[in-house]
Amino acid sequence: MNNAIEIKNLCKNYPAFNLKNVNITLPKGYIMGFIGANGAGKSTTISSLLGLVNTDGGVCLIDGKEMRYMNKAEKAQVGVVLDECNFPEVLNWKQVDKFMKKIYSTWDSESFSDRCKNWGLPEKTIVSKYSKGMKMKLAIAAAMCHGAKLLVLDEATSGLDPVVRSEILDILMEFVQNEEHSVFISSHIISDLEKICDYITFIKNGEIIFTAEKDSLTEKYGILRCSNSDFEAVDKNAVIAYNRNSFAVDALVDRSKISGDYIIDKASVEDIMLYYMKEGKI
């Protein structure tokens, strides 16, 4: 299997929310960013992937296998970091190390203590006295030290300051130096993801709007800036969404469909997402 994650036609129905035919493929060795507004279905997708909820259709494969049919050793190859650190608050990391050793036969104590020391986690302080950034680092260290080949992070960087976020990105880049390792990270801090992700998947109201290589997205889209009268002449098929004010129009456009001499700025992934959120309000 060459895909770390393969989600096919995933459906999940809740009374007020549905996931509709979600398809995501992440090849091994790469990082995928999973973006979308709050309540768009990011966490539901991740819970389904991890087999934490029953789905109403479709399959979620990790390295070719559904999580709920995996044995212990296979499960150890998946590292999960949720938005909170769920270790007992009264332990310090030495003690966390001790009990994790009992849970995972593949637990690498040495690598865990190295990471904790390198990342500045004090040995004697208990988890409840940690800052949010320290808790997150502890959770990531733990997820990486039981032989995980796939890291799944759900909002792991939200609420952290830029310095810690940047450190975490470094850690993730370090992790994928091994070609067998992959990362699936959901976040709404898109500028973080924009730097390091190879693939971006955007979900809106339970539907995947696009899933593509990041570079191809930034190449495909641009932001057109023109006057109100010029905008009338622009091919509307090329326009995804626009912002109009009394002096000018800004529009997210498909560069390949625009001909003529216009000012087209580079669009960041964040721009693309924001315009897509507006879509339908045209």
Partner: protein
């Protein structure tokens, strides 16, 4: 080797990498058989996507500048003489275009420019 990525540049990042490695090869800073950093290391160091570095290396390989040895890495290919000549021709063209423009601006007759160039080519002016 230095690789400087600018976010303000109009060139996509993979082109920026491709051109800087190309320049290093043509200038002789990188020599035949030298090993290039792996795509993953380069991506990590520059904080960019692995797919971006992969694409830059693919373009370089297509241009005949580097060779990939499976399982070992990417190496600078034997210098493609024809390509180096092409690069030099391009440079020459640019320089001559500048000279022609200057001549036109200062109203120097074509004949005089030609003689001047001939003298340069014969090496008279260097003596």
């Amino acid at each position: 080797m230095n690789i400087i990525i600018s976010n303000g540049s109009n060139d996509p990042i993979y082109t920026q990498i491709e051109q800087q490695i190309k320049a290093a090869i043509v200038s002789g800073q990188l020599k035949e058989g030298d090993m290039l950093p792996s795509m993953r290391v380069l991506a990590k160091e520059l904080h960019i996507s692995i797919l971006t570095t992969k694409r830059a290396y693919e373009e370089l390989e297509r241009g005949g500048f580097i060779q990939t040895v499976a399982g070992k890495g990417c190496f600078v290919a034997p210098k493609n003489l024809e390509f180096v000549r092409e690069m030099h021709l391009q440079e020459l063209e640019d320089a001559l275009a500048k000279a022609a423009e200057l001549a036109k601006m200062c109203n120097i007759p074509d004949r005089e420019v030609h003689t001047m160039l001939d003298m340069f080519l014969k090496g008279d002016l260097y003596e």
